[in-house]
Symmetry: C2
Subunit: 515 residues, 2 copies
């Protein structure tokens, strides 16, 4: 009966798991590859790694410099800063045995739009990490499945796998390209040159990993971050720490997750730090590290910020898969955390251990998690859907409110009949407004740029990439948050499709070093 529900997607996953078993044998075969690799040709079939390649826009791979992009409309002349983006952009097709590998495993391609005086300069560069360099020299893919060392070519068994493809973050004048399975890559904020592909804060970072979602505290100047699987793949160890405004590691604590699972984001408030364990769990049976394990339960863990972590309280709660923080805060002993989340697995490309992917359960809405820590005994965390009528992903907020009570949030939403949009939520009035770009246009994550230093919360601009499918071309749309439904005040145009994106960030010029 599960076969019927799963349909073709389910068959794909079975093939997927079957090919994982063959992985070890294929690795040996790969060593016998000819000295001159075959020409680059990505597979055509949908769902394959880099599917369609150039022809279908599955990859970009082109590092670009475009001085003075064309701008339709009028950019505010005092909008001074950089819109950074990063995403997985497959450097090479995978060997046949691993071509079922997932999109998340593409090599990190960073891009930036530097806004200044109504002009915008565009640059994109791959992160020159150890993985990129090894493959560049070999002119072929050397790393197999996502987070699966056993599938790597023998020649790179001692080469770092970090792809740095998920998020871009600035703290203490440093720009980091981030992927949650590796230490950050330090990137030159103006040239995008890779300065250090394995940045460990002068050796002070003891976690083997570093989240893609740090939070900055504007008052203390600290950056809070963590690493999960911090003592190796499959480990339950979490290292949570802060970096001071001097860029030095400041505070560090070790905790343990209830089980090893994807901890993509976290919450930091003035008093608390929290993690949500979800059933996207480490599974040796999965070729791509994770599998959806419906026998597991979500757990919310909340600890005192700045403590030694021994106070952490892990509390179970209703089934969900929530991943991106919209905002979080503490009100005395009460902890609140808003995320976009679904009732079940949201990523059909990860295998299920016990059931099949359910697209209805996979639809995400904004959810508020909370816990009253004044209580001695807490049997369950609270979870409430805030806007039942809005589905979407990639929650964001005005990042100046990362650790404080906040009012406004942003989401890439999807409205039946109207297609994709950017939605702005006002939690105080519990209302929302959506900008719809129109048919055949898809949207990436929206990021917020304050109107000026010290502007009120969410007063400024919302911007992000829009892809015009018919023209095979991308633009950065800039909207005024006073009324995003009015449409873009300016459109920054590219003559081509932008590089793939997971996350992006707006960094005001005063947070970047001088050129």
């Amino acid at each position: 009966m599960t076969g019927e529900r799963g349909g073709p997607a389910s068959k794909d996953r079975r093939r997927f798991l079957a090919s994982a078993a063959a992985g070890a044998a294929v690795t040996v075969g790969a060593a016998a590859a000819p000295a001159v690799a075959a020409g680059v040709d990505f597979p055509k079939a949908r769902g394959k790694f880099g599917a369609g390649g150039s022809e279908s826009g599955g990859v970009s791979r082109a590092e670009m410099t475009l001085h003075d992009c064309e701008v339709e409309g009028q950019l505010p002349l005092d909008l001074d800063g950089t819109f950074y983006r990063v995403g997985p952009d497959a450097q090479y097709p995978k060997p046949k045995a691993y071509e079922d590998d997932i999109f998340f495993d593409g090599e990190g391609h960073v891009s930036m739009f530097r806004f200044r005086n109504g002009h915008v300069d565009f640059t994109s560069r791959y992160v020159r990490n150890d993985r990129w360099k090894a493959q560049h020299a070999a002119r072929r893919s050397l790393f197999g499945y996502y987070r699966n060392r056993a599938s790597d070519d023998p020649s790179v068994q001692n080469v770092r796998r970090g792809s740095h493809n998920t998020h871009i973050w600035v703290h203490a004048n440093r720009l980091y390209a981030l992927k949650e399975d590796s230490p950050p890559a330090l990137i030159h904020p103006h040239t995008l040159e890779t300065l250090d592909a394995n940045y460990t804060f002068g050796g002070a970072l003891t976690s083997q990993t570093f989240t893609a979602h740090p939070k900055n505290d504007p008052e203390t100047g600290e950056m809070f971050a963590f690493g999960y699987e911090a003592k190796g793949l499959g480990s339950t160890d979490i290292n949570v720490f802060s970096v001071g405004r001097d860029g030095q590691l400041k505070w560090s604590a070790w905790i343990n997750a209830p089980y090893c699972c994807m901890l993509h984001d976290f919450a930091v408030t003035r008093r608390h730090i929290a993690f949500l364990a979800i059933p996207m769990a480490y599974s040796p049976a999965s070729p791509v590290h994770w599998a959806w394990d419906s026998t597991k339960q979500p757990w919310l863990g909340v600890m005192r910020r700045g403590g030694d972590g021994k106070d952490i309280r892990w509390v179970p709660g209703p089934m969900n898969m929530s991943d991106h923080t919209m905002g979080s805060w503490s009100d005395g002993d009460r902890f609140y955390w808003d995320m976009d989340g679904a009732d079940g697995n949201r990523f059909p490309f990860f295998p299920h251990l016990h059931d099949s992917f359910d697209p209805v359960k996979g639809q995400a809405r904004v959810r508020r998690f909370s816990m009253d820590l004044s209580k001695k005994r807490i049997t369950n965390f609270d979870m409430q859907v805030l806007y039942p009528d809005v589905t979407g992903a990639l929650s964001r907020q005005d990042d100046r409110y990362n650790v404080d009570p906040y009012r406004y949030g942003f989401l890439v939403s999807n409205t039946q009949g109207k297609g994709p949009g950017w939605t702005m939520f006002d939690h105080q009035t519990r209302t929302h407004r959506t900008y719809h770009p129109g048919p055949d246009i898809t949207l990436s994550e929206a990021v917020f740029a304050p109107r000026r230093k010290g502007a009120p919360e969410a007063d400024g601009y919302l911007m992000g990439m829009a892809y015009f499918q018919k023209e095979n071309r991308s633009e950065v749309l800039v909207l005024d948050t006073r009324d995003i439904t009015a449409g873009p005040i300016a459109r920054v145009q590219l003559p081509f499709k932008a590089t793939p994106q997971i996350h992006g960030n707006w960094i005001p010029a005063d947070q970047l070093p001088a050129v």
Copy 2:
């Protein structure tokens, strides 16, 4: 009555000439431009400079590096060399007063596809000439109409106008980007960095200009070139010269054209050098330097190669506009020269002084010009249409036969009902074969790559850019000259539209310096 024939295009030209008169006044206004230039926004209307910008593919402007392009099909593993291209890629929109300026005035954007071991690396860079640098710093266009110094911004009256946007040529291990109104720019053949934006052969070049169409003599190792308007815009002076295999200027002679006109290409044989003066003449009334002057007559001038030029014989002949050499040779005192040419003006964007553009007269076919120099008195040059059924442009040949009798030629052709194609001519059998890529695909100039060093004439590959309009994406198509109608043996894919192109060249690896 001419108004009726000319139609809307004719009105455009009248506006064009009218705006030229306003040029001087506008220049003064340009000096008062604000310190912060307006954002870049190309005009929408067709026919304007950079028309449509990114949105319509009118410009690219993106400098790119794409390691290991995707390749469909199978590239010959021993195909080792670089396919270079160059074209005008508008750096900035023109000021309003000059937005009627022509496509030819865009800044030179060079690109290269480095073929080796079945892999292809792509790079594109603007020529960093004085003009590019001045505009880059100012973030706006500073140069007005095509070859019209009076329309330039006061700030650049002493800055070189050279755009280096027409052709790319290699001789004596040096790569040149060429535009016929300026000295060459010396370009790094592997990085495309501009090494010298005003290369004068160590000061030995006395001509102010240098043709975009040099010829190489494979036996002597010489490069033959010339400059017209060599003593300044409007002058009839032609300097013709050769550069030895040591890269030093070797031979030089001065001659005079019957009138100052566009001398885009020339002919070099083992015995002769020839020029064709055509009625695309210098006119102070034209804002864009040239105008079609139907009161003038074409003249063919042939001189002894290596002489002092005093022997040149200018002979008049039937009206035509022929511009690109397919091949030329001398058979004793008989001189032969094949070009693509039309009965009248081929470029509707240049104004007519006395009549209107006639699209039928503007269609070009392969023409053979000849002159018997043994005759004491020659009243007219001979001109014969070789293949009346084929119209097209951008003649090429196997460049190893630049100065020798040749058998095969190539043309970008256009067949009623079948659209664009690449045609290969066999002059011995007077036959031709055409490859048609199919609907919605446009073709750039085709270049020839020998199968290997010492391969027979035209035995190898024909390659060039194809643009897929619906996908807004370009590919290099590689055909085997044994049968070009069989279609590409390999397709080198870009995820975007290639930069604009006038000419390109295939340079075997052994003609390039080591990296």
